[in-house]
Amino acid sequence: MSKKITIEPVTRVEGHGKVTIHLDDNNKVTQSRLHIVEFRGFERFVQGRPYWEAPVLVQRLCGICPVSHHLAAAKAIDVVIGVGPDGLSPAGEKMRRLMHYGQIFQSHSLHFFHLASPDLLFGIDADPEIRNVIGVALNHKDLAVRGVLMRKFGQEIIKATAGKKIHGTGAIPGGINKNLSIAERDYFSMAKRSPMSTR
């Protein structure tokens, strides 16, 4: 009889996922499927909303990479109000760019330390009770702390530019609604704040 192997949830990707592998009577794979099935209807329900809501609506597609969606929608509404990509104020352009650097930084830290490192450190056949970020924290505490601090640094950059660590409100039509204060700038530029310099 044909069989099906289900892997759910897929925990080494950022977001929801499921894999099903279909086998025939001889246990040969006939089909492998990656499921990303969470249909929520954003394409339809954002229609008819005030245009300036777009960046805060669509970022809720993903709480791991909200900044990317936030900024993509911001670029779209820039065009709506007649400010093209070259029309942003220098501060607006730099703050949005910094916001996205924070996003890339925290997301890479998350993927490497929280999601992938357990497989690399313990091997993919290790007991799932240990082969996870908590196992890393228990068995490789220094490494776990550095991973946590790296992610925190990225999240703090996002908070300084977008107002919140997750689902911020920074980008508005044509620019940004806050500046980077001198205090914030100095906080991040102090070398000892850098998670890479703990050694």
Binding site: F39, R40, C62, G63, V133, A137
Partner: protein, 179 residues
């Protein structure tokens, strides 16, 4: 003494609430002194291996798989917490409530400008989309509710530590809001 066991799941959410749990940063090391984790995307444990003390649910129910997972959590967890606006009220995905499901599917799969093959996916393996998005407490009994989109990290930490210590949680007025 065995540590309390915690399980978590993301239903029709965005993983933002799970990210907010991680935003307790260094306190993660304190958290794993206090509790053990069972079924959760944070671990790689896919099925309940033991009954749990606390279940944390992110997201509401937009399809029948969400309902199935939520019922599993209710069965296996002594205390169930709705974490974040989607679990509490359906959240942003509930903006489709009042719009026929077919309209949403057609917009995404047929009319969208970047669509290639114009079919609405239909397969026995796919979950069935519900008529509307249901908050968790309309499907199972929920014991506690943590507001916010997402609930701020400190709130999650305060709630868990209060629960573990058997103390009341002081929900500050400013946390009682969507964003």
């Amino acid at each position: 003494m065995q540590k309390p066991l915690v399980a978590t799941a993301s239903l029709a959410g965005c993983f933002g609430c799970h990210m907010s749990i991680l935003d307790i940063d260094e306190k993660i090391l304190d958290l794993i002194e206090l509790v053990d984790f069972n079924k959760s995307p944070i671990t790689d444990i896919k099925t309940f291996s033991r009954p749990c003390d606390i279940g944390i649910i992110e997201g509401g129910c937009c399809n029948n798989e969400n309902v199935h997972v939520l019922k599993q959590f209710r069965k296996n967890c002594k205390i169930l917490i709705s974490c974040g606006e989607c679990a509490l009220m359906g959240g942003l995905p509930a903006m489709r409530n009042g719009i026929p499901v077919r309209e949403c599917l057609e917009e995404a799969y047929l009319r969208s400008p970047t669509v290639d093959d114009t079919i609405i996916p239909s397969d026995a393996e796919l979950p069935i989309i519900l008529d509307r998005v249901y908050p968790c407490h309309e499907v199972v009994k929920i014991d506690y509710f943590l507001p916010g989109c997402p609930p701020r990290a400190e709130l999650i930490w305060d709630a868990l530590t209060a629960l573990l210590a058997g103390k009341p949680l002081n929900l500050e007025y400013e946390t009682l809001k969507y964003d």
